[in-house]
Amino acid sequence: MARISFTENLQRHLDVAPLEVPGDTVGAVLAAVFAGNPRLRSYLLDDQGRVRRHVAIFVDAEQIADRRHLSDPVSAASDIFVVQALTGG
């Protein structure tokens, strides 16, 4: 299962410990995360399900390309990092 971890700056708003979750795309992994933490969804995605403009997601040290449909592939060995983009600061 892919491992996903989150910027510490999210911790001030809600509990987001690192997780190991199933899924073969970024969208599938996030859906699994949100199933256990529904509040997190609106922190990372906008009303249309797009990655928020000032949130960045990296899969194996590469920023994802598809911020609209979250279709970037994820393997069972992937490390996913969710961080805040400095543009939003």
């Binding site: 708003h13 609106s42 009303d47 249309q48 928020r52 000032h54 949130v55």
Partner: protein, 360 residues
């Protein structure tokens, strides 16, 4: 007289309380986080704070114990829409929050950027887009004022009948509903927009009312601080009269009206749209007691030299008794008056930029 003042700032929600020693900072919530709006609901004591998180979007929190503890609510949001490609709407910021009247307990209204109105029947637990306004074809003519997208910053609920609503949009006019938001009319007759080409200056849906307020005891009297001056309606927004020749300036963002004297209103003038500083760098509040026929300049206790403070549209507030006023600037100064603006005391001078004030 009010004894609590909530201050929504760029870096948290501050609570000032009045005791025997005067007004003092009594609480700090959401420290470091931008608070775009605060609402103290007089009907049930609910306290609401809207956050505008730079990375993580708009959020809404409620306290039922005057800020001792907070619970996050689901913030107003658009439904996911198929077929709009990359252009589907998403709430960027909660810009206005208002309670309905006693005839609709628990009902709240929220205005957002982009310019949408949302309704909650259950004290913010759930929100519904007011589609009748969102679908108006005139909305395509709206444009942003100070922000990239248009937004709803003022919501006036008629205390006689909560189904009567007036909302103001920067930039998109004044919209009125007589049926609880089922249908809408844009009412700006008499307003003018000098920033538009001549043939479009009276177009209703491009007017920029910076702030709209209604007198609680006489809700058909509405005041607007508009981009192009001060406007008054005494017939429920059917007609607007421009109040001109106001010294030192009729440009500004904020206006408040006395709760029971509809002809008494206060403004905070700045030079003009492209020079948003006090005239001659002297901060004054202007007050009319005769429906705009004359104005007084109120300056006692306010800086009269080298002042660059701007008071934004929610940065001037009056209490429900019409006695206390509060004034908060984008450079983090906070003043308070207990004598209807005749004199002001500085409560704090090193605050973050102040977005909104509310007495309770």
């Amino acid at each position: 007289m009010a004894n609590r003042l909530y201050v929504a700032t760029r870096k948290g929600l501050l609570t000032f309380a009045r005791n025997a020693g005067g007004w003092r900072l009594a609480g700090t919530d959401f420290i470091g986080q931008p608070v775009s709006m605060v609402l103290a609901d007089r009907r049930d004591g609910g306290l609401y704070a809207a956050l505008h998180l730079g990375h993580f979007g708009p959020k809404l929190w409620r306290s039922t114990d005057a800020g001792q503890s907070w619970q996050e609510l689901v913030a107003p949001a658009f439904a996911a829409s198929e077929g709009e490609g990359e252009q589907g709407p998403s709430v960027e910021m909660l810009w206005s929050l208002e309670a309905a009247g006693a005839d609709q307990p628990g009902m709240l209204w929220a205005g957002t950027i982009p310019g949408a109105l949302f309704r909650s029947p259950d004290r913010g637990a759930s929100w519904t887009l007011v589609d009748s306004l969102w679908q108006r074809p005139e909305r395509a003519q709206w444009f942003g004022g100070g922000y990239d997208q248009p937004g709803i910053h003022s919501i006036c609920v008629d205390p006689r009948d909560s189904a009567r609503l007036h909302v103001a949009v920067s930039c998109g006019g004044v919209w009125c509903s007589e049926d609880g938001g089922a249908s809408w009319a844009c009412r700006t007759q008499g307003m003018r927009a000098a920033y538009m080409p001549p043939e479009l200056q009276e177009t209703p849906e491009i007017q920029d009312p910076h702030r709209l307020v209604a007198c609680p005891a006489a809700p058909d009297t509405l005041w607007v601080q508009h981009h192009n001056g001060i406007f008054l309606s005494t017939d429920g927004a059917a007609h607007w009269q421009e109040i001109s020749d106001v010294e030192p300036s009729s440009f500004g963002f904020a206006v408040v009206v006395h709760p029971s004297e509809p002809g008494t209103a206060w403004f905070v003038p700045a030079v003009k749209d492209e020079c948003r500083v006090p005239v001659e760098q002297r901060l004054v509040v202007t007050r009319t007691r005769d429906g705009g026929q004359s104005f007084e300049r109120l300056s006692r206790g306010l800086p009269q030299a080298e002042c660059f403070d701007l008071v934004y549209r929610h940065g001037l507030e009056i209490d429900e008794h019409g006695q206390c006023l509060a004034l908060g600037s984008t450079t983090g100064h906070l003043w308070l008056s207990e004598d209807q603006g005749d004199s002001w005391q500085a409560l704090a001078g090193h605050l973050p930029p102040i977005h909104a004030l509310r007495f309770a």
